[in-house]
Symmetry: C2
Subunit: 292 residues, 2 copies
Amino acid sequence: MNLIDGKKISLELQETIAAEVKKLKADGFKTPHLAAILVGSDGGSETYVASKIAACERVGFNSTLIRHPEYVTKEKLLQSIHELNNNPDVDGFIVQLPLPRHINEHKVIESILPTKDVDGFHPMNIGRMVLNLPCYVSATPYGIVHLLDKYKVETAGKHCVVIGRSHIVGSPLSILLAKNTPLGNCTVTLCHSKTVDLKSHTLKADILICALGSPDFVTADMVKDGVVIIDVGTTRVESTETKSGYKLKGDVKFDEVAPKCSLITPVPGGVGPMTIASLLRNTLLAAKKEMY
Amino acid sequence: MNLIDGKKISLELQETIAAEVKKLKADGFKTPHLAAILVGSDGGSETYVASKIAACERVGFNSTLIRHPEYVTKEKLLQSIHELNNNPDVDGFIVQLPLPRHINEHKVIESILPTKDVDGFHPMNIGRMVLNLPCYVSATPYGIVHLLDKYKVETAGKHCVVIGRSHIVGSPLSILLAKNTPLGNCTVTLCHSKTVDLKSHTLKADILICALGSPDFVTADMVKDGVVIIDVGTTRVESTETKSGYKLKGDVKFDEVAPKCSLITPVPGGVGPMTIASLLRNTLLAAKKEMY
């Protein structure tokens, strides 16, 4: 069994991006610029946005954080998005989710220019992904495909089973891996809460993607020897082992499953670290206008 | 074994649409209006467009056919689309595919307003489909889901195997059937040209969608007893049995496979007749502004 080191691959990707930014600047091009809109002051969202801003600094991007109070009106938020859409210095921007309940997330996302939607959540980017056209792929699916690529996991003709059909992981990933592309060409089975006899499917998987958010759900009897497992689950569970009083748990019962795997991502340190690197990559692509 | 009668279901759907149009008109609403752009004079395209126009008349829609010569410039074609986008009397329109080689189909499709894209080919509509948001679903995938519904085929928890990942059938259908909706909730496996040991997958299918375009490809040894089969294939093969000198063949070796099926679509007369009814339905939804 070998571990997939997401932290290492993420840092390597960030170093590649930093080197390219340095070259762009030396060649007289503008500095890539990512903006983030943060509504309210949820602890999780504050942390995520802060780490995105810090990552921008690390790779040499400019960044802007725009804050709105929890009670911001939809109109005011849309105005803010409109300004970023029309600001030629901003190459891409994100609206940190979740938004307060009084605001329709889909309306907000659709108001972002697809050309600046570096989160890849706009229907236009998702549709282009389905059609194999240039687009921003969202962070977690891209991060997973990148990990498989870096660890030279053959995907063509392999049977990939995805558990979980969320809009941000399972569903787009099942589409990406089935496509006729060098990092795709898997036979993909998408399983979910309505799947009957899940184990009969997971036992067939050459590559198993666990993205259901249920700690220790996947057990050793559910997988075959030599499987490659990507564990996307990151559930906070209480723990007496850590100072914070909690730890992150994946969807896979790691201790008993890992020995059967040829490759597996740990939690934390697997898929998680890839998401920020993926966002930076999309922003660089936006600055270079490579997608639209 | 029972046949799925696509012709009958299509006529029923068209009658429902006609009744609703009659009511809309009686209530003083405008008449739904579908426009079609036809470039060149390919025999197949001429036939398809003519049957769409005829179907409009049957259900009481207005229709407009706009013709361009084979050598039309991209600019001229886009101008034509721009005019339909801005014509408030036109509820929806289609650009008949394929287009001549000198014109980029994707650029043309993306220039159609998503709100008028009743073919459901625009990335915005495909992305919205993935996200379970209101959208125009393209004709063949919608037609198939409608057939399964009308024949009361239970989909929730069933294993559906789709052979073929085309942008207009296999790929969108695999997405639709896996979604958390009353007509979805299948466990879906998407197979294609790179799939290894296809038979091991098809033998597991409760519902088998054949959309690869290879006559007689699916044989009796590839399916289990009681399977529901939707045959999307329509390949013209030479024939001495017909006056025209050819006949349409499905992807399924019907004579030997049909006895094992609980339900199966014939070719012709299965999926084919559904496509025009689906297009009319999207146009009615556009006229009623139910999607955007």
